[in-house]
């Protein structure tokens, strides 16, 4: 077996792919906000080169790396094929290993990463949040702007917490195919999706089963490691990934279906994560095999082709491209195709659809002001369509956009492609589809 290039060597090569043309600037959310070179992909790549060539990591550079949302719009717009995703992952890992963050930031990061990758802990948070909301304290606190003054991060967490309904019953470990079996697939539950949008998971499993799939949903799967990996917490990401690989190897599935864009985008590169962390070739190979099976729900359904009957759902919706679906995985036509297959459903695009909504994993917790500004912009674009229902393929986006639009006084119903498909396959009414009855 030929020797793999070390991460540092690879990093230098990848940096050289950038020809400084600037095509990445207009779709970069921080360039849109601030219009300065070091907060554009081209500028950050320059800062990465400085870091790499001179082997120093300045506080300034860390600031600008932290400002990046990791939305990967630059990857889509780059004509030279620069792997900014790999560059950023490596850079973030270097920042996390070498840079001493101020105490406040350290505490916040530790708190976020001991909460979000754990579905059970997130779920436990639902109770207190529910009490908080129903007690009317929420709107009072929100009106006073108290939280904003105390901590913009806490304020963001409060805002993006979704209104809660009673959760559907937990999914079984196997949902058998309806009718003749066409495939045996694994399914990711996801941390945020599982805790805040369990009904999306139920819908996903049901749609897959109705389309003839045995759906394997291992209880032991845990977090896929995307949040940690995207934040440069490589060790943590690798540990999550290893468990995930083991669990799904045992599941004997043909594909692993994901309904959360951020997770899917990271799961397709388990092997890169392992290699970056210096794991053994054996692990890289196992990870590669599992990654090769990972597929977004919409990608998979289009590949499979429709079999179950679609019932009409007379509804106008706008589709929001989650960055890690469109830029991260190149999945843009499939969700639109599936939605337009539903009789009576009309789908429109958002203006500025390639610009990030500001959610970006946990970015909105670490950089709340920038995230809120991007959320407001996205909200205005959604409002401009005049459509009351927004479809998104990522839980983070759903939380972010819904809260931005509520803040702007133009509330919108945000739903997931899986829920509309599920409703159409089951012949539900529009109200039932949107969970309004």
């Amino acid at each position: 077996m030929t020797e793999r290039p070390g991460p540092e060597r690879l990093f230098g090569d990848l940096l050289n792919d950038c020809v400084h043309c600037g095509f990445c600037l207009p779709t970069c959310p921080t360039d849109v906000l601030w219009g300065q070179e070091m907060d554009s992909p081209r500028g950050r790549i320059h800062l990465m080169s400085q870091m790499h060539e001179e082997d120093v990591l300045t506080e300034t550079a860390v600031d600008h790396f932290d400002n990046c949302l990791g939305c990967l719009a630059c990857v889509s717009s780059c004509p030279s094929g620069v792997a900014y995703d790999a560059l950023l992952e490596h850079t973030r890992h270097r920042v996390e290993t070498e840079h001493e963050r101020p105490r406040g930031e350290r505490v916040l990061r530790a708190a976020v990463f001991s909460l979000f990758p754990y579905r059970a802990r997130l779920r436990a948070l639902r109770g207190p949040l529910r009490a908080y909301r129903s007690g009317g304290v929420s709107s009072l606190v929100r009106r006073s702007g108290l939280l904003d003054r105390l901590s913009p991060t806490l304020a963001t967490m409060e805002r993006i917490a979704p209104p809660l309904s009673s959760p559907p019953p937990p999914l079984p470990e196997l949902v058998p195919a309806v009718g003749a079996r066409r495939a045996r697939v694994g399914m990711l539950v996801g941390c945020v999706q599982g805790a805040f949008f369990p009904e999306v998971n139920t819908a996903t499993a049901r749609v897959l089963a109705m389309e003839g799939c045995d759906v394997v949903i291992p209880r032991a799967q845990g977090c896929c490691g995307a949040l940690s990996g995207h934040a440069g917490r490589l060790r943590e990401a690798v540990e999550f990934a290893k468990r995930f690989v083991e669990v799904f190897e045992a599941g004997q599935v043909e594909r692993i279906v994901v309904n959360s864009a951020g997770c899917g985008s990271s799961m397709k590169h388990f092997d890169r994560t392992m290699a970056e962390a210096g794991e053994s070739d054996a692990w890289v190979e196992r990870a590669q095999k599992v990654s090769a099976k990972v597929v977004d729900l919409t990608e998979f359904l289009v590949e499979l082709g429709p079999r179950a009957e679609r019932h009409p759902l007379p509804l106008r919706v706008a589709y929001h491209d989650a960055c890690h679906l469109s830029h991260g995985q190149g999945v843009t036509s499939q969700p639109r195709e599936l939605l337009t297959q539903i009789p009576g459903l009309e789908v429109s695009d958002l203006p500025n659809k390639e610009i990030c909504c500001g959610s970006a994993g946990v970015y909105n917790l670490f950089k709340p002001e920038a995230a809120a500004e991007l959320g407001d912009r996205k909200g205005q674009d959604v409002a401009a369509t005049g459509v009351g229902v927004l479809v998104s393929g990522n839980p983070g986006c759903s939380l972010q956009i819904a809260s931005a639009m509520e803040r702007a006084g133009t509330p919108v119903t945000v739903t997931h492609t899986a829920r509309l498909l599920d409703a159409s396959l089951r012949g539900l009414s529009v109200e039932q589809a949107l969970g309004k009855v």
Binding site: D17, G22, P26, Q36, L47, T60, S80, G81
Partner: protein
């Protein structure tokens, strides 16, 4: 955020300016930290680099005027920069000067469909004008390949063109009014929404002046009515000669396409690798021909062009009238420069013009140059108006390769001039070609240019060392006057 500890290596002459710049542009509008300044070390032409002394990011005309006045007061040079996509190092920073960046001035101030014009700030991208005008049935015609990112201020400074210049002309044909800040810091209005001003064409003088006469802070551009129909043809040939023949035949037939673009095999390979544009396999040359106008006229022209291409030996001609198909054809062409990064570690984008009739001859000579030197040259060009864009490929890790590529690139320009052409079609002169100006212009020409420049910028602080050759940049050459102009000396002219 930057702290005083980070303010390393600021040139001594500028340290006194920094607090005043902060008063003008605000705390976050001035960059002093070395690693931030270095990010601005080059524009789209990375071959030339210099760390700016300090970077200012103004947001209003008043701020630009105040920054320039401050520079004038202290005799400090300044360099204007927009999106930093230029390809002649026209925005190369000055190590002892201020880099004046207009990227935060990007408001579309007004779309005025009744008067068929738009008023925009200099940082607005070329394509954003079209986006803003589209709902009214209009667009902004000059379309550089980098239109999604390059900004209007830079388009004005460089007199940018693009694929559709064949029919619609360069930036200079589409600007009605300018608000500029002169090198002394004065705000001046040139022209306005109305067309047809008399007297000296100062707008004409300013466009293409590469920042040497001032900074445009507001631009009034003409909008063009979106055509009733647009059809894009993609025609593939087995040789460059056959493609060139087709170009000649189309023009001779009296058809005026909005664009005729040509790419050779190497450029096609790069574009395919980058954007999978699906050009016909095995093509040694492709022509992209676009026809627009009233439906009946376009339909007749499409038929005529298809026949002419076939007669010249085209083995496949595709016609795209849908937006998606047309965009795919153009995507290959418009991404070609950057896409070459996929097939070569480094490359030089050259820009030269030859009379259309000399195209075949010059392309043959370029191929010979490439064969002799062993350096690959990919060709992408605006065939309709003879504007060549040879891409000279090399490996920058190989010692001496860069120099050899430069030689080939320079020899290509010599070929252009030799055949009655020009050293630049649309990328501008900047630093990159300043020393080549004497190949096109006599010493008297250059002295007259210099006199003109000094009428606007007597202190020589506005984007110095760009556009015109200077001893500092190009070395002393015998016969160049550097002293007082003879007309001034004899009292026949006055320098002010």
């Amino acid at each position: 955020m930057a702290t005083s500890a980070h303010q390393t290596n600021i040139p001594a002459a500028l340290t006194a300016l920094v607090p005043r710049l902060r008063e003008i542009c605000g705390e976050d509008g001035v960059l002093t930290d070395l690693s931030r300044r270095r990010v601005y070390e080059s524009d789209g032409l990375t071959y030339h680099r210099a760390t700016p002394g300090v970077v200012a990011l103004p947001t209003t005309t008043a701020q630009v005027a105040a920054v320039v006045s401050l520079c004038a007061e202290h005799g400090v040079p300044y360099v204007p920069r927009g999106a930093g996509t230029g390809l002649s190092a026209g925005a190369l920073p000055h190590a002892d000067g201020v880099l004046l960046v207009t990227s935060r001035m990007r408001r579309v101030v007004e779309i005025d469909p009744e008067n068929e014009c738009a008023v925009v700030e200099p940082g607005v991208t070329n394509l954003d004008i079209t986006r803003a005008a589209a709902p009214h049935g209009y667009y902004y015609a000059p379309d550089p390949s980098s239109q999604q990112v390059c900004s209007v201020g830079g388009n004005v400074a460089e007199n940018s063109g693009g694929a559709h210049c064949l029919k619609y002309g360069f930036t200079s044909g589409h600007v009605r009014g300018l608000e500029i800040v002169t090198p002394s810091g004065e705000v001046v209005e040139l022209g306005g929404k109305a067309t047809g001003a008399h007297g000296y064409d100062l707008i004409g003088a300013f466009i293409g002046s590469e920042g040497t006469l001032g900074v445009a802070t507001r631009v009034t551009v003409s909008l063009t009515r979106s055509p009733q129909k647009t059809v894009t043809l993609l025609s593939a040939f087995t040789s460059m000669d056959a493609g060139g023949e087709a170009v000649g035949a189309i023009i001779a037939a009296g058809v005026l396409p909005s664009a005729i673009e040509m790419m050779d095999a190497l450029a096609i390979e790069a574009a395919e690798a980058a954007v999978a544009c699906g050009y016909p396999a095995g093509a040694a040359a492709v022509l992209v021909v676009e026809l627009d106008g009233p439906t009946s006229e376009v339909d007749a022209q499409v038929e005529r062009v298809t026949e002419l291409c076939a007669a010249s030996g085209s083995f496949e001609t595709r016609t795209a009238s849908g937006a998606v198909e047309r965009a795919l054809i153009w995507k290959g062409r418009k991404s070609a420069f950057a896409a070459v990064g996929r097939i070569s570690p480094a490359y030089i984008v050259q820009d030269g013009v030859v009379p259309r009739t000399a195209l075949g001859e010059v392309l043959g000579r370029i191929a010979a140059l490439s064969a002799e030197s062993g350096i690959r040259v990919a060709n992408v060009f605006h065939a309709g108006d003879g504007n060549l864009h040879p891409l000279v490929l090399f490996d920058d890790a190989e010692p001496g390769a860069g120099e050899r590529a430069e030689e080939v690139s320079g020899a290509i320009l010599d070929l252009c001039v030799e055949h009655g052409g020009s050293i630049t079609g649309e990328h501008g002169v900047g630093v990159d070609k300043a020393c080549k100006m004497p190949r096109m212009y006599s010493d008297d020409d250059l002295t007259t240019f210099d006199l003109f420049r000094r009428a606007f910028d007597p202190a020589g602080i506005a984007n110095p060392d760009k556009l015109l050759p200077t001893p500092r940049l190009c070395g002393e050459r015998p016969g160049v006057r550097t002293g007082v102009h003879p007309l001034v000396e004899s009292g026949q002219a006055e320098q002010f």
